[in-house]
């Protein structure tokens, strides 16, 4: 490796996390630790009905008996669940502000810094945003417009109050509380998140979006998102995340459930940029996320797109259960790890119905001393006649101290189903670099161009609003080398 490449690598690792600021705002937190009292406290704070509390306590009792899943290729110290705040809210949020003018200006400022100008978005047509600050949903823009179409887009806390029938029917129907220990934990202590319901035949005219931010120290964020697309409807949903720089590790264990009924389509895009820790591997978010979609009806479609650049640890497998005949599941992922980051991410496609199709494109890029693992399962059950899967996972290694791993599980129980899987691992092609340099690009620009080209297949799946941000993010992740 030449010295220039080494310099480039150096500058990668020195790159600063620009969302690492802390907003000084009065916070309301109960004591640390996890027990029934804290769950009752959360439930009380959220003014929840009795059945919700019972649901939480049931999940908690399951969690107590469970151990963390161990399959992932990750190394981290044991999580002390008693050393975490399970609830944190900016003061004065007992009642949700009716209007942006009631929100603390400091908060608005924070979001402006992060590039989500709430005020502006009120005016500009486009994205409707729900913002979750620590544990509390701060504001949902564009609610009125959406209501006209019958679309429900609000925080999950609000939905529990206003649409208990939908919550009772669907919450936990895709990810049961007892699925594994992180889903049980989330079910017990989830504080907020988004709820979306698209009524029959409605195509949601704008991208719905949620922005998550962990601000307080030693808090865990446990959000819960539930999206239901009724017959023939369509929705595209975006999610973004950031957190301040802290020396301690913070826990983030979210659950996201998607349900697509007959002919419905859900597109879910994530740009995850939690604080990844510093160059020594100190601090950073532990991101243990369960995302699962159910294609319940015929001809339904769920598509996951993710760009994972942050978090000290990423443990995330957005999955699709293809139950309806002719349903389609898609998964597009770019995961970039740097310094001491560890990512173990991938997907799970379970084909149950006839003629179901799935497609997996995964691109992993490892730099510094990071470890990047793709772990995916594709299974065809007995009745999945004529099911089809195509999987492609490519890894790119930059530097000789990182690792790239691929662990696919392929299981076929049907003799008309066809599965194809291919994977490759390589470093940045010297010939390509040489070619770019020859055309007058600097080394940094050349690396950027090649990496962007490597991810293009995935990035082009993102909605416009996000594609720009994601490309920027890829650039930032490689900053120093990339213009």
């Amino acid at each position: 490796m030449n010295s220039e490449t080494l310099n480039t690598l150096d500058s990668y690792s020195k790159n600063k996390y620009k969302y690492g600021f802390v907003t000084k705002i009065d916070e309301e937190k109960p004591k640390k630790g996890l027990n029934e009292d804290i769950i009752k406290f959360i439930s009380l704070k959220k003014n929840e009905p009795e059945w919700m509390l019972e649901w939480r306590l049931k999940a908690f009792s399951k969690w107590k008996k469970m151990k963390e899943p161990k399959w992932a290729n990750l190394n981290f110290p044991k999580i002390d669940y008693q050393d975490i705040y399970y609830y944190s809210a900016p003061k004065g949020f007992d009642k949700k502000p009716k209007d942006l003018s009631e929100v603390d200006p400091k908060l608005i400022d924070t979001y402006n810094k992060l590039g989500i100008p709430l005020e502006e978005q009120k005016v500009l047509a486009g994205v409707a945003v729900d913002v979750v600050f620590d544990s509390v949903s701060v504001a949902t823009t564009y609610k009125g417009e959406l209501e006209k179409l019958g679309i429900i887009f609000c925080s999950i806390g609000e939905a529990i109050q206003t649409h208990p029938d939908l919550i009772k029917k669907y919450l936990g129907s895709v990810i049961p509380a007892g699925d594994h220990s992180f889903s049980a934990l989330n079910s017990a202590v989830f504080t907020d998140g988004s709820f979306v319901y698209i009524p029959e035949g409605v195509k949601c005219p704008m991208e719905l979006s949620t922005y998550f931010r962990i601000n307080a120290e030693n808090t865990g964020q446990f959000e819960r998102t539930l999206i239901i697309a009724d017959k023939g409807s369509y929705v595209s949903y975006l999610e973004g995340c950031t957190a301040p720089k802290r020396d301690d590790n913070q826990l983030h264990a979210a659950n996201v459930e998607l349900i697509a009924l007959e002919d419905a389509e859900i597109k879910y895009s994530t740009v995850q940029n939690w604080y990844p820790g510093d160059e020594e591997g100190k601090g950073g978010i532990y991101n243990f996320v369960t995302k699962r979609g159910l294609c319940a009806g015929k001809n339904s479609k769920i598509s996951w797109t993710q760009v994972e650049t942050g978090s000290a640890i990423t443990w995330k497998y957005p999955s699709c259960i293809l139950k309806g005949d002719n349903s389609i599941g898609e998964f597009y992922s770019v995961a970039i790890t740097n310094n001491f980051q560890q990512a173990d991410t991938g997907t799970k496609m379970t084909h149950i119905g006839k003629n179901t199709k799935s497609k997996i494109i995964s691109k992993g890029i490892s730099l510094g001393k990071s470890q990047n693992t793709y772990r995916g399962e594709v299974s065809f059950l007995r009745k999945a006649d004529k099911a089809r899967n195509y999987t492609q996972c490519d890894s790119l290694l930059v530097g000789n101290q990182c690792g790239a791993h691929t662990v696919p599980y392929i299981d076929s129980k049907n003799n008309t189903a066809v599965i194809e899987h291919e994977a490759s691992t390589s470093k940045i092609n010297e010939d390509q670099l040489y070619y770019c340099r020859q055309r007058g690009l600097s080394h940094e620009e050349a690396v950027s161009l090649i990496v962007n080209g490597f991810c293009k297949q995935v990035l082009q799946e993102l909605p416009m609003e996000f594609a720009v941000e994601a490309q920027k993010l890829v650039s930032i992740s490689l900053e120093g080398s990339v213009g």
Binding site: Q401, A404, T406, I410, D411, S412, N415, I419, E420
Partner: protein, 408 residues
């Protein structure tokens, strides 16, 4: 009967039970059995297995009356008959065959490429009752054929073989497993290739439905050596093929290939694992399977590239054809890469026979069955035509025809 009692009761018949070091090692293994919860989900060695049959077994071993014969047919060509895993000693200037000794056991127990929770390997170490050691002397080019025979019903054979190819030697080894009795063979081959040596290893497995065969091999390759392994599994009984290879010095090569033909209720578990520990090494793992009726198969492949192993080339390919509604195939092609200047890839496909190809053949006047048979043969043709040993290729063709005759 639990493992502990079973072991204590049969201690007398088990190799090296007088050796203290080995006894303590075995105590540890017993502990593993007693504390393990046999987690089928995460332990690859347990998938698709009826544990009770294998863990809760009746130990029985007979020392063969007639010791096996070694024929020196032609020059450099030997044929060995191993009876109940034992083989008489033999020595000339080219090869040397002896019983295994304590040191061979200790040598292997220190190796950590094979997982500690592979219960079949642990069982083998615990109940070891047979095995031999073959040394190929420097610079000789040798052919050996080993027929593995089990004499009686209900035998449990736990066999450990050592094969050592000294510097510059070349060995073509054909092993046959064709047993019709109701017994279980658990065999562990430890293979060492010294500098610039070569081993072509063929395993033909064709047991009847009540014979269980569990084969594990561990090969380590030094500088410029090449290990090629080809497994042909036509067995009607349970077969487990787990093969590990370590490339410990530069420019060595490992090529692990296998084809399995399954039908009825048969199960086969397969695994290949290549560990690249030095620069400039190559590896190839190719397994193909044809599954009919209610057959089940698993295939785990794994390429591990160490940080120092730059310029590695590692390829994996797994292909499965399901001929029936009730057959199932599980594959897990894994890559673990810690070096950056590598070329590694894997491909995996599972599916039925291509309908378009069938249509083409039928439009040329062929019956559906004939078309299916032709397409199955062509699926594995590449592997079969690459066999450079005529005798071998004939044997395999015959077995293939037998398998195809049952395809409907």
């Amino acid at each position: 009967m639990n493992i502990q009692d079973n072991y204590q009761k049969n201690r007398k018949n088990i190799f090296f039970s007088e050796n203290k070091d080995i006894a303590t090692h075995r105590e540890k293994l017993i502990n593993i059995f007693e504390n393990d919860r046999f987690d089928k989900k995460n332990n690859e060695s347990l998938k698709n297995i009826n544990l009770k049959n294998f863990i809760d077994f009746k130990y029985k071993y007979l020392i063969p009356e007639e010791t096996s014969v070694i024929n020196n047919n032609h020059e450099n060509s030997y044929s060995i008959v191993s009876v109940n895993g034992q083989c008489s000693t033999f020595k000339d200037d080219k090869i040397e065959i002896t019983k295994i000794i304590d040191e061979d056991y200790n040598d292997f127990s220190k190796n950590n490429t094979i997982e500690k929770n592979d219960h079949f390997v642990n069982l083998n170490s615990l109940f070891l009752n047979s095995g031999f050691k073959i040394v190929i002397k420097r610079n000789y080019n040798i052919k050996i054929k080993i027929s593995n025979i089990v004499t009686d019903d209900d035998l449990t054979i736990f066999q450990k073989n050592n094969i050592i190819c000294q510097e510059g030697s070349s060995l073509s080894l054909i092993e046959e497993y064709e047993n019709k009795n109701n017994s279980t063979s658990n065999i562990l081959n430890v293979i060492k290739l010294e500098k610039n040596s070569q081993l072509n290893h063929f395993l033909i497995q064709d047991n009847s439905s009540n014979h269980n065969l569990i084969i594990t091999s561990h090969s380590s390759c030094k500088k410029d050596s090449t290990y090629t392994q080809k497994v042909y599994n036509f067995s009607e009984g349970y077969v487990r093929n787990f093969h590990y290879s370590e490339l410990i010095e530069t420019n060595s090569e490992a090529d692990l290939q296998g084809i399995f033909f399954l039908k009825d209720n048969n199960t086969s578990n397969n695994k290949t694992f290549v560990k690249h520990l030095a620069e400039d090494c190559k590896s190839n793992q190719v397994y193909k399977g044809i599954l009919n009726d209610r057959a089940k198969a698993t295939y785990f492949s794994n390429t591990h590239v160490d940080q120092v192993a730059q310029k590695t080339e590692g390829y994996q390919l797994s292909k499965g054809i399901l001929l029936s509604d009730n057959a199932s195939y599980f594959s897990k092609p894994e890559l673990k890469i810690y070096a950056d200047d590598v070329k590694c890839s894997h491909g995996s496909t599972i599916g039925p026979i291509d309908e378009n190809a069938i249509f083409y053949l039928r439009s040329r006047g062929m019956s559906k069955i004939a078309a299916t048979k032709i397409l199955i043969s062509s699926f594995i043709n590449e592997e079969l035509s690459s066999i450079d040993n005529e005798q071998m290729s004939e044997i395999i063709q015959k077995k293939l025809v037998r398998y195809l005759s049952k395809v409907k």
